[in-house]
């Protein structure tokens, strides 16, 4: 079994936890978010018929009161940047977090996902901004915590990128 540490990053209340809640295994209360700033969850995906376990470090949403701890990011094989489509500011936070992540773990695969795809009409993050992100090499997905959309694709895409970066040895099956 291959394991990979993946961090979930995003601004305050962008819906990180809500987005993945029904797709992951968890034994800890969300209360840990506000105490130590992280809860650890687990998601298993299949890449090329091989199981890969993504150990998700769901980090507390960064805002003016609490910053993401660099130490939580260390050792990550990839990360997920979550934004709220209806709040433009969460894009800025994501950009800042991207810088933090690069500084801490270097160039590792990451996926950006914009939540609340079910209310696209209310979005403040427009297509142009998204296009700019994609031009910078970002993989941008759309998701909906309400409808459960985009999450499986998110994990599979990220896991695939991680595996391609560091191939799975055959004897780890």
């Amino acid at each position: 079994m291959m394991q990979k540490k993946v961090c979930m990053l995003g601004g305050f209340a962008v819906g990180k936890t809500s987005l993945v809640r029904r797709f992951v295994s968890n034994v800890f209360s969300e209360h840990y978010h506000t105490t130590i700033g992280v809860t650890v969850e687990k998601k298993s995906v299949k890449i090329d018929d091989r199981d890969v376990t993504l150990v998700l470090w769901d980090l507390y949403g960064e805002d003016e009161f609490q910053r993401v701890r660099d130490s939580y990011l260390r050792g990550s094989s990839g990360y997920i940047l979550v934004m709220d489509g209806t709040r433009r500011a969460t894009l800025d936070t994501a950009l800042a977090l991207r810088q933090t992540a690069m500084r801490t773990v270097g160039t590792v695969p990451f996926i950006a996902i914009i939540n609340k795809a079910d209310v696209r009409s209310e979005w403040e993050i427009d297509e142009r901004a998204i296009e700019q992100l994609r031009e910078q090499g970002w993989t941008v997905l759309f998701g909906s915590a309400k409808l459960g959309q985009g999450v499986e694709e998110l994990f599979v895409t990220l896991a695939t990128q991680i595996v391609q970066t560091s191939p799975i040895p055959s004897d780890s099956l």
């Binding site: 079994m1 291959m2 540490k5 969850e41 687990k42 150990v55 701890r69 094989s77 055959s170 004897d171």
Partner: protein, 590 residues
């Protein structure tokens, strides 16, 4: 041939000459190019014959596999399905081969797993057993009933000093789980998520207090659990301990961690999420799964001594009693065997009591009396005696006396099967005995040549002729008179015996008298005194039961010889008569 560059071209040659030249050239070419031609033929054969190729490939196949394997995983991906199919086919075709191959690997692992399970079960069972009957065991049983938990678990919780329930080997940088072991029965959450959270908590604590990277969280405690963390350069060990562990346990953790770092340096340095290489750390981590329980309280030595002493005393007392009872029983059997007229045919000593069975002559001694004499309780012995006639001489003699009603003056003895009668008896008894003697069981013959027979009238006459004389005024029996009285006494006893067999009684009157000297009153008194003195001399108190004695006096005028000399009237006379038993009227006989 036209393309052959070596062939000379001569247009002027005739056809015959050309033929000759061709042959020469062929011969020359064979001579010059034979080795090369052979090689060319071999090369052509190789190219034409494809069967040679596998042999050639076999020479380079291992190197080819190795080279391709170093480049990428494609070769493995290609071969995997074939290997899998081949493996499955082999298992189906010859499962025994696979079993033989993996048995050396699985055998020890299975044995170890079974041993651990048995050890855990035995441990739990022993604790439950140790505490099941003690005071605190009863208290814990109440607690188990109150809380609804199994009794064994309650015992475990109370006697447990510490137990390492889980050990995590975690990659330090990523927080990913490398390996995990757990004790039997430990509650295990998702180890991968726990590993992440353990790492997060350490980072949180370190960051929160501004600690340097080499300052780490060593342990934390929650309720009855303590989590001990030992850091290595690439990985750390986290042990979940229930109870209060000793500090030496940390050394075990560190030793295990050092071993793992020494065994897996490359896997730890280049860890990229693949935990497979760390399966080999299983034994190392299991060595950290210590458990220590509080031994059950030992009963005090004094109590043990007292208890032991009491038991020994009880056993000793029981042993002595049992020995004494055995001795009494043995003695009783010896006594019974020695007793004439008793034959023991079965003797048993069981837990419920003693059992006797045998034969007993009615004339033999009562067995109950022998039992009492032996010191045993007759009620504790169940005896069944069947009657029989014993031929023991003593009993035959007793039986003869009993059946023949022999008088006391007769002595009966048994010599073999012969009854011998001696002494004195009446003619009637002697006659009757001769008739009856051989009917006595055990008696075949009878002899009485030593028996003196006398008749009752003779005895009466011998008694009635007796006269005892006294000095004047005296009531003392003179020594010269006593000798005669002895014979009379014997006659009286014989008479008593004789009449008792015929259903009659003897009435003996002892009558005293005086001469005329003195007052009448005095003389009457003196007469009575003389009669009593004679009676005493006769042993009147010891005469037989069939004899009635009357002592009295007679008037001077009624005395025998009253007309004679005065000395002839200072006498006592005896008068014996026969009476019919139980009848008031006398049947006097002359």
């Amino acid at each position: 041939m036209s393309t052959d560059p070596h062939r000379p071209h001569r247009d002027s040659l005739s056809s015959e000459g050309r033929t000759s030249v061709d042959e020469d050239w062929t011969q020359l070419r064979t001579l010059l190019l034979s080795p090369e031609q052979t090689q060319l033929d071999e090369i052509r054969e190789r190219l034409d014959n494809r069967g040679i190729q596998p042999r050639e490939i076999s020479r380079v196949l291992p190197e080819a596999f190795a080279m391709r394997g170093e480049t990428d995983q494609h070769l493995s991906n290609v071969l995997t399905p074939y290997v899998e199919n081949g493996f499955v086919a082999t298992i189906r075709k010859s499962p025994r081969t696979i079993v033989d191959a993996i048995a050396p690997i699985l055998g020890p692992a299975i044995r170890q797993a079974i041993a651990r399970a048995l050890q855990s079960m035995t441990q739990s069972f022993n604790h439950s057993l140790d505490e099941s009957l003690s005071t605190r065991g009863l208290r814990w049983r109440l607690e188990a009933w109150r809380t609804g938990r199994p009794f064994a678990e309650v015992v475990l919780l109370h006697t447990l000093r510490y137990r390492v329930e889980q050990v995590f080997l975690i990659h330090r940088e990523t927080g990913l789980l490398l390996h995990h072991v757990a004790a039997e029965g430990a509650v295990v959450q998702d180890q991968q998520i726990l590993s992440g959270m353990l790492t997060a908590i350490q980072s949180y604590v370190r960051d929160s207090f501004g600690a340097s990277p080499d300052q780490t969280l060593d342990h934390f405690r929650v309720g009855e659990w303590t989590v001990w963390i030992e850091q290595g350069s690439h990985a750390y060990v986290a042990g979940v301990v229930r109870g209060t562990p000793p500090e030496t346990l940390r050394e075990d953790f560190q030793a295990a961690l050092d071993d793992i770092h020494a065994q897996q340096p490359d896997a730890l340095t280049h860890f990229d999420g693949d935990a497979a290489p760390f399966k080999t750390t299983q034994t190392c981590l299991e060595s950290c799964l210590h458990a220590h329980y509080e031994p059950p309280p030992r009963p005090s030595v004094l109590k043990l001594w007292i208890l032991g002493g009491a038991v020994i005393l009880l056993l000793s007392w029981w042993g002595v009693m049992a020995y004494q009872a055995h001795v009494r029983w043995s003695n009783l059997l010896v006594e019974l065997e020695a007793e004439p007229g008793i034959v023991v045919t079965m003797a048993e000593s069981t837990l419920t009591g003693y059992h006797l069975k045998g034969l007993r002559d009615p004339l033999a001694k009562d067995p109950s009396a022998i039992v009492v004499e032996a010191g045993l309780e007759p009620s504790g012995i169940r005896a069944v005696w069947s009657p029989y006639y014993s031929l023991d001489p003593q009993l035959v003699e007793t039986r003869a006396h009993s059946i023949l009603h022999s008088p006391k003056t007769v002595k009966l003895s048994v010599e073999g099967d012969t009854l011998v009668a001696t002494g004195a008896a009446s003619i009637e008894w002697a006659r009757e005995t001769r008739r009856l003697a051989t009917l006595v069981p055990g008696i075949s013959r009878y002899r009485d040549e030593g028996l003196v027979t006398i008749s009752i009238p003779d005895l009466l006459e011998r008694v009635n002729q007796t006269i005892v004389r006294f000095r004047s005024g005296s009531s003392i029996v003179e020594p010269s008179e006593r000798a005669a009285l002895g014979a009379v006494s014997m006659a009286l006893r014989e008479l008593d015996q004789a009449v008792s067999q015929s259903g009659q009684r003897v009435r003996l009157e002892v009558l005293g008298s005086t001469d005329d000297t003195g007052s009448v009153t005095r003389n009457i008194q003196l007469s009575e005194e003389r009669a009593r003195a004679v009676l005493v001399a006769l042993g009147g108190e010891q005469l037989g039961d069939a004899t009635t004695v009357i002592a009295g006096s007679v008037q001077s005028t009624d005395q025998r010889g009253s007309t004679g000399e005065a000395r002839d009237r200072r006498i006592v006379t005896l008068r014996a008569t026969l009476t019919v038993a139980n009848r008031g009227n006398e049947a006097s006989r002359p």
